[in-house]
């Protein structure tokens, strides 16, 4: 019991939680943007892979770190555009298109990686993002070590939470995205383009998702591996519902998941011999499901989610 409390109060635990949460924050925000406009994007897992691979490879080929981030975002936007074209003007099944994009983005990334590096036994490393240590602030008790053990990408993620919130609630664009996800006719009747808004939201959301992937290869680690995304994208799809499509709650949800995960490994080091290790690995997923069940009642889905809209048709 003491140990558990000790874990929960430790700075390194919360620093770890925030680190684990960072790619999820990007992913949930991206999924949120897409879904708010009415498009489910199951391409997220593949877009994570593509972002991870593209960002890392760009840096390895000589781009700067932020250059790599931009490349990752562009690649994510590209796959988002494919999903958007398939699901918005063409109105194809969002589930299938999404899974198709996941397959496509993953296999393209793997194929390109392997064709570019046919004979490596260990992928080349890059110089990743370094911890941002701001002199005075990092001296702050508790918060200092938690926040200032993070890299620029984590800061970017936190900044994006605020930005997405601001855009969604304080700008005409965000209000239009909320409207198009509820009732596309409302937007159409006001002279705005349903297709433009949805495609834009999916493309932007996918770019954000790709940053989640880029974090893995450019901050959490310094090289790309097959399979390293390891389901993180799917988790975001759950978190966005848990967050009721709100950026602030999305951040909390991701942090909570990160905390489960960080807690799980720490607990396992304490009582690992008593319980099969898999119980701990399962815990974050099961807790996500439970959280979802609890949150489900109040979850109000964007009403037009999954429903395609065609101009001039009823």
């Amino acid at each position: 019991m003491m140990d558990i409390l000790q874990i929960l109060l430790s700075e390194s635990f919360w620093a770890a939680s925030l680190r684990i949460a960072t790619p999820l924050i990007f992913g949930v925000l991206g999924a949120l943007l897409c879904e708010k406009s009415g498009v489910l994007n199951l391409g997220i897992e593949g877009i994570f892979v593509a972002g991870a691979m593209a960002g890392w490879m760009a840096v390895w080929l000589g781009a700067g770190l932020w250059g790599g981030v931009i490349v990752a975002a562009l690649v994510g936007a590209f796959f988002g555009l494919i999903h958007a074209i398939l699901t918005v003007p063409l109105g194809l099944s969002q589930h299938v298109s999404g899974l198709g994009v996941t397959m496509f983005a993953t296999s393209v990334s793997y194929f390109v990686y392997r064709t570019a590096l046919p004979n490596v036994s260990s992928p080349p490393r890059i110089e990743p993002f370094q911890v941002l240590d701001i002199p005075i602030l990092s001296e702050l008790p508790f918060l200092g070590p938690v926040l200032f053990q993070q890299t620029g990408l984590t800061w970017l993620a936190i900044f994006m939470v605020g930005s997405v919130w601001y855009v969604m609630n304080r700008t005409p664009l965000g209000v239009a995205i909320q409207a198009v996800g509820d009732n596309p006719d409302s937007v159409d009747a006001q002279g705005l383009s349903v297709y433009g808004l949805r495609i834009g939201a999916v493309v932007a959301g996918s770019a954000l998702m790709a940053l989640g992937g880029a974090f893995l290869t450019m901050s959490a680690f310094d090289a790309f591996f097959f399979g390293m995304v390891n389901g993180r994208g799917w988790v975001c799809i759950a978190l966005v519902i848990f967050a009721s499509w709100r950026p602030g709650k999305a951040f909390l949800g991701a942090l909570l998941f990160g905390a489960f995960d960080a807690f799980q490994v720490r607990l396992q080091t304490e009582v690992g011999a008593l319980v099969p290790g898999q119980v701990f690995l399962m815990a974050p997923y099961i807790l996500s499901i439970i959280a979802l069940v609890v949150a489900a009642r109040s979850a109000d889905y964007p009403r037009a989610l999954l429903t395609p809209w065609f101009k001039g048709q009823r």
């Binding site: 304080r170 700008t171 005409p172 664009l173 209000v175 239009a176 909320q178 409207a179 198009v180 996800g181 509820d182 009732n183 006719d185 409302s186 937007v187 159409d188 009747a189 006001q190 002279g191 705005l192 109000d300 964007p302 009403r303 101009k311 001039g312």
Partner: protein, 505 residues
């Protein structure tokens, strides 16, 4: 009204596959004029207006709109944005509101450039409040539209159009969901605005309104404009003949002796999420050979009452007896089994499975019937035969019984539901807004069928916001207000109107 031409539609045509929705329709509108556009269901009224507003791209034709100086200029078609810029506003037949946003956001949506980094909410609010004060149309600006009554939503729709400083306002059946009083207020407000130069095209099936508020009437039939007439020269008969091409007949209601009770609600309460679906301690009795009319402004508990009788809603207290049998399991299946026929308010949402065929929709309520299935397998031939017979008997027209039900027009969907319900000889019929949105011919058909069922011995609960309809069909009238039900011991329009407003309770 002036003679200044402000809008001219020149030979607009639109085809949907083989359906010719509009065939070279031309129309003119003058400054300050109120033009009523009439026609049966499916005549092409909405299509014409949708072309004007840019939702549909015409196959042929053009549109000219007067600019600020009054010079007619061609309008770029196919872009709502262009129509809005030209000063055209449209209130659509079906709400085009984002329910997750509040009224303010819905109204302002699209009027600010999307690249703006912030919104001028205060300015917008001031402008809307000015419009509200000026027109008398009010709405709660900060309440999510999803929580509003249909009447309030309709007002938001109109405010939305006015906010864009329109000079031409198109209203597609604006009063279909309003009470007579609300409709009157709306039209008197609009009348005031036309005197300031607003021009209006409105579509309606309610001839009373058309005659009272329009200057000019244009009639469409099967996509063709069959005539135009000054309202001053028109009357119901003339218009009806223009619309249908023949005279319509009203079914007379014969007096009948009510029989034994078929439905008894005793002290029923329903706890709903909002007032619209709450009932408080309601009791009523319906007998054979009797039509009980429930009058009331929408959102006063009608949906709870309808839900209860159709089996969708579970009461929190009280008892329901259908023909001596106490209902314990509240499910539509139970009600169907006990011989309750239900005509739902929202045909598309509750009445049909649009993606399934007309024939399938005609048997969907009796899948256990040995005529429809044996040992769990459907009898396709019998289902088809049944559909052919019903389609003929009830004059369900459309692309055939094997086509998807969604393809039928609203009136024909309603006929299909009537066929399904009446064929089972129900003891009790719930008719919830049965003629909403139907043209005169179709509405008369519904009335005839209801009276026929009554003659056969059914008890009928008729829920309607159209007081004229209630008064013409019901043997007995009750008024629903705020979840409570009161017997109206009068047939006086005025008095019942006051009870609907809760002023005599």
């Amino acid at each position: 009204m002036t003679q200044q031409k402000i809008l001219s539609l020149n030979g607009l045509s639109k085809r949907f596959g083989s359906v010719i929705a509009n065939d070279a329709v031309s129309l003119e509108l003058h400054k300050g004029e109120v033009l009523a556009l009439l026609g049966e269901n499916g005549a092409g009224k909405t299509t014409l207006m949708n072309m004007l507003f840019g939702h549909y791209m015409p196959d042929e034709g053009s549109v000219d709109v007067a600019d600020e100086e009054g010079n007619l200029r061609p309008l770029a078609l196919g872009h709502p944005q262009a129509a809005l810029q030209a000063g055209i506003g449209m209130v659509h037949q079906h709400f085009t509101l984002a329910e997750n946003l509040n009224a303010l956001d819905n109204i302002v949506l699209g009027s600010e450039p999307l690249r703006m980094l912030r919104r001028d909410r205060a300015g917008a609010r001031a402008k809307i409040e000015r419009i509200m004060a000026h027109t008398g149309l009010t709405a709660h600006l900060d309440v999510p539209v999803g929580k509003m009554s249909v009447g309030e939503r309709q007002r938001v729709e109109i405010l939305k159009a006015l906010y864009r400083d329109v000079r031409i306002l198109v209203l597609d059946e604006p009063t279909a969901v309003l009470t007579p009083q609300e409709a009157d207020t709306l039209f008197s407000n609009i009348g005031a605005m036309t005197r300031e130069g607003l021009s209006v095209i409105f579509i309606s099936h309610k001839l009373r309104e058309v005659l009272a508020f329009s200057h000019q009437i244009a009639v469409l039939r099967h996509g063709v404009k069959v005539g135009e007439i000054a309202t001053a020269d028109a009357n119901e008969r003339v218009i009806a003949r223009m619309m249908v091409g023949a005279d319509t007949q009203e079914t007379p209601r014969e007096a009948m002796e009510p029989g034994k009770p078929v439905l008894k609600l005793e002290n029923i309460s329903v706890v709903g999420r909002s007032k619209r679906d709450t009932l408080e301690n309601v009791s009523l009795t319906v007998r054979r050979h009797e039509i009980l009319g429930i009058a009331g402004v929408s959102g006063n508990g009608q949906s709870a009452l309808a839900g209860l009788i159709s089996g969708l809603t579970r009461p929190s207290g009280g008892s329901i007896v259908v023909d001596h049998i106490g209902i314990t399991e509240h499910h539509p299946q139970t009600m169907i089994r006990e011989g309750v026929g239900r005509i739902p308010e929202d045909r598309h949402h509750d009445g049909i499975v649009g993606a399934m065929s007309v024939a399938e929709n005609m048997v969907i309520e009796r899948l256990d019937d040995p005529e429809v299935q044996s040992r769990g397998l459907l009898k396709h031939d019998a289902i088809s035969a049944n559909a052919d017979r019903l389609a003929a008997d009830y004059d369900v027209r459309g692309p055939g019984v094997n086509a998807r039900a969604r393809l039928l027009s609203g009136g024909n969907i309603q006929k299909m539901i009537l066929a399904r319900v009446f064929e089972q000889n129900p003891k009790l019929i719930l008719a919830n807004q049965p003629t909403r949105g139907l043209d005169m011919g179709a509405a008369a058909e519904v009335a005839r069928r209801l009276l026929e069922a009554r003659a056969r011995g059914a008890g009928i609960v008729l829920i309607s916001e159209d007081l004229d309809e209630v008064l013409s069909l019901a043997d007995r009238v009750m008024v629903i207000h705020d979840g409570e039900l009161i017997e109206a011991n009068t047939r006086d329009r005025e008095k019942i109107g006051l009870m609907m407003a809760g002023e005599m309770a």
